[in-house]
C-alpha cells in the first residue's frame, strides 16, 4: 500500500494506523514508528489523523504509558515488601494513594523557585504617584525614589509623605509589604502603620498591618529596626535579625523568632512574596483567614467543628477553588461559593 499518498482521513480510516494510535498491537506500533522516521514530511498529516482517532476513541490507548505506571507501582510495592520482610502478611495497598499524587500535582509542587521576585515588574515611577496601591495584583514591586525596594501585597497601599527622599523618608502602610531599604544616615526610613511606627537604618523586613486585623506583625530579616507604639514614644523596641514583633490590640506585644520552614529554611512570614501560600499544621479557621487575604474573598463557616480541622500544605495557588480542593483531599469538608463569599461546611 502506498501510504505516501494518504491524506488525513485515509490514515484515520486505516485499521493498522488505528491500532498504532491505540497502542493495541506491537507490530503496528513498530511499523508506523518506523514509517514515520522515514517520512518526516507526513508528520503533520499523521498528527492530525492521530488526533481524530484519539477523539473518537475517547482517548483509549496509552496502554504502554499506563503499563509503565503499573510496573513502577509494583516495583515500589515489592521494595516495600522487602523492607518489611519478616513482618508477615502482605499489606494491602492503601487506596487513594493515586489521589495523593493528584493532590501534589494540582496544588503543590513547591520546592522550586527560592529566588524572590524582586524586580520582576517594571519599577513604577513612585515619585509621581505618592499613593501606591497593589489593587488586585497578588504583588506589586516598586522602587522608591531613595532606591529602596518594596513589594506590596494585594489590596495593600503605601502613601509617601510629602518631601520623601528630600526632607524625610516617611511613608504610611496599610496592609502588608516587604521592604529592602537602602542606607541613608541623614534620613532614617520611617514606616507608619495604624498600630505602630518603625524606624529603619538599612535593612530587610516585612510588615503585616491590615486595618481589619487586630494583629500587626513586623518581621526582620537583616539589619536593625526600631519600633515605637503610639502613645509610648519613649519606649523603643529594637528588633534583631530573624526576630518578629507581634502586637495585638488586646494583649501586650511579643517578640518571637521567625518561623523558618524546616524544608526550605525560608521564613514563613514572607511566603507571600514567593508565589505561594504555605500552611503548616494550622486549623482551617486560620487557613481561611489566610485565604481571605490571599485571594481577596470572604470565607465564612457554616459549621463550627470544621474550623478546627488541621491541615498542612503549600500551594502554588491559582484559584481558591484549587486550594480548597487540595485541602479537601486530605480531610474532607464541603464548600460552596455564593454571592462573592465562600461558605465552608462539614
Amino acid at each position: 500500500m502506498n501510504f505516501q499518498e494518504y491524506e488525513v482521513i485515509d490514515f484515520a480510516c486505516d485499521e493498522s494506523f488505528q491500532r498504532y494510535c491505540l497502542e493495541a498491537d506491537d507490530r503496528d506500533l513498530h511499523f508506523w514508528e518506523n514509517w514515520l522516521t522515514q517520512h518526516p514530511e507526513k508528520r503533520l498529516t499523521v498528527q492530525e489523523a492521530r488526533e481524530i482517532v484519539m477523539i473518537l476513541s475517547a482517548k483509549q490507548g496509552n496502554r504502554l504509558e499506563q503499563l509503565k505506571h503499573l510496573e513502577d507501582g509494583i516495583a515500589r510495592y515489592d521494595l516495600l515488601q522487602e523492607a518489611l520482610e519478616e513482618e508477615q502478611p502482605p499489606v494491602v495497598l492503601r487506596r487513594r494513594h493515586i489521589w495523593k499524587y493528584a493532590a501534589i500535582a494540582t496544588g503543590v509542587l513547591l520546592l522550586a523557585g527560592s529566588s524572590f521576585l524582586f524586580f520582576r515588574h517594571t519599577p513604577a515611577p513612585a515619585e509621581k504617584h505618592q499613593l501606591v496601591t497593589a489593587g488586585q495584583d497578588p504583588r506589586k514591586t516598586l522602587v522608591l525614589p531613595d532606591g529602596s525596594s518594596v513589594i506590596l501585597r494585594q489590596h495593600s497601599s503605601l502613601q509617601l509623605a510629602p518631601g520623601f527622599n528630600k526632607d524625610n523618608r516617611n511613608l504610611t502602610l496599610t496592609g502588608e509589604a516587604f521592604f529592602d531599604v537602602t542606607q541613608n544616615a541623614q534620613h532614617p526610613f520611617m514606616v507608619h502603620t495604624a498600630a505602630l511606627d518603625i524606624k529603619v537604618l538599612g535593612t530587610v523586613f516585612n510588615v503585616s498591618a491590615y486595618t481589619n486585623s487586630r494583629e500587626t506583625e513586623t518581621a526582620l530579616f537583616k539589619g536593625k529596626i526600631e519600633v515605637t507604639l503610639p502613645g509610648q514614644p519613649q519606649q523603643k523596641i529594637i528588633l534583631q535579625p530573624n526576630q518578629k514583633l507581634v502586637t495585638h490590640a488586646a494583649t501586650p506585644f511579643a517578640i518571637a523568632p521567625l518561623d523558618a520552614d524546616p524544608v526550605s529554611h525560608k521564613a514563613r512570614e514572607i511566603a507571600w512574596v514567593r508565589n505561594r501560600l504555605e500552611i503548616e499544621n494550622e486549623p482551617l479557621e486560620v487557613i481561611a483567614g489566610k485565604l481571605e487575604q490571599w485571594y481577596g474573598i470572604r470565607v465564612v463557616f457554616a459549621d463550627e467543628t470544621v474550623k478546627h480541622y488541621r491541615y498542612s500544605g503549600t500551594f502554588e495557588s491559582e484559584t481558591i477553588i484549587k486550594a480548597l480542593d487540595a485541602l479537601q483531599l486530605s480531610y474532607p469538608f464541603s464548600f460552596k461559593m455564593e454571592q462573592g463569599e465562600i461558605i465552608i461546611s462539614k
Binding site: 480510516c13 473518537l56 476513541s57 475517547a58 482517548k59 499506563q66 505506571h69 502482605p90 493515586i98
Partner: protein
C-alpha cells in the same frame, strides 16, 4: 489457546506469584476494562488510574485471590467497585463545584457523552457536540463500533448487514464531515 483460556492461565499463574502473568493479563484485558470504565464515567484519567490500582491490588493480595472461571467478569466487577468508590469519594468536591452536571453513575453513558466528556477544553467540547449533530445516527453507530469498540470493518459489516465497502465509506464520510467541523 483462546482468549478465555489465556486469561485463565494468566490468572492461575498470578495466584502462584508469577509477575509476568500479571502483566500478560493486564495487556490482554486493558482495552476491555477501559471501555467498560468509560461507560461508567467519562473521565479517561480516572478510569486509567483505577485500572492501575486494580492490578496493584491483584498483585499485593495475589495469595488470597480465589480461583475464578470468568476472569474478565471478575475484573469488570472489581473495576466497577473501585470506580464507584472513587466517584463517591469525589462527589463532595463535585457537588461543590458543578452540582448540576453530576449524573447518576448507575446510568450508562452514551458514546457521544463519553467522547465529549473526556475532552478538557470547553471550546473543543462545544465544537465536538456541534460536529456530532451533523452526523446521521447510522454514521455515529458505525464510528462508535470502529473507534470505540475497536471492531474491524469485516466485523462491522457482518453486524450491520452491509458490505465492507459500504461500512468503510460510511465511516470515511463521517470523519470527513467531523474534520471539517472541528477545524
Amino acid at each position: 489457546m483462546s482468549y478465555e483460556e489465556d486469561n485463565n492461565s494468566h490468572w492461575e499463574r498470578l495466584r502462584k506469584g508469577d509477575k509476568p502473568a500479571l502483566f500478560a493479563l493486564y495487556n490482554s484485558t486493558y482495552s476491555h476494562l477501559l471501555r467498560f470504565g468509560l461507560k461508567i464515567c467519562g473521565n479517561d484519567e480516572l478510569v486509567k488510574d483505577c485500572i492501575t490500582q486494580l492490578f496493584l491490588q491483584l498483585w499485593s493480595k495475589h495469595r488470597q485471590l480465589p480461583p475464578v472461571t470468568n476472569v474478565p467478569a471478575y475484573l469488570f466487577t472489581s473495576l466497577k467497585r473501585q470506580l464507584l468508590d472513587q466517584l463517591a469519594y469525589q462527589s463532595k468536591i463535585h457537588a461543590a463545584i458543578h452540582r448540576d452536571t453530576d449524573k447518576d453513575p448507575g446510568v450508562e453513558l452514551s458514546y457521544e457523552e463519553i467522547i465529549i466528556q473526556v475532552q478538557h477544553d470547553e471550546e473543543m467540547k462545544r465544537r465536538l457536540q456541534q460536529a456530532l449533530k451533523t452526523l446521521t445516527p447510522r454514521q455515529i453507530e458505525l464510528v462508535q463500533l470502529k473507534f470505540f469498540e475497536g471492531l474491524t470493518y469485516e466485523q462491522i459489516a457482518a453486524q450491520t448487514s452491509q458490505t465492507v465497502k459500504t461500512a468503510y465509506n460510511t465511516i470515511y464520510d463521517a470523519i470527513k464531515a467531523l474534520r471539517k467541523m472541528l477545524k
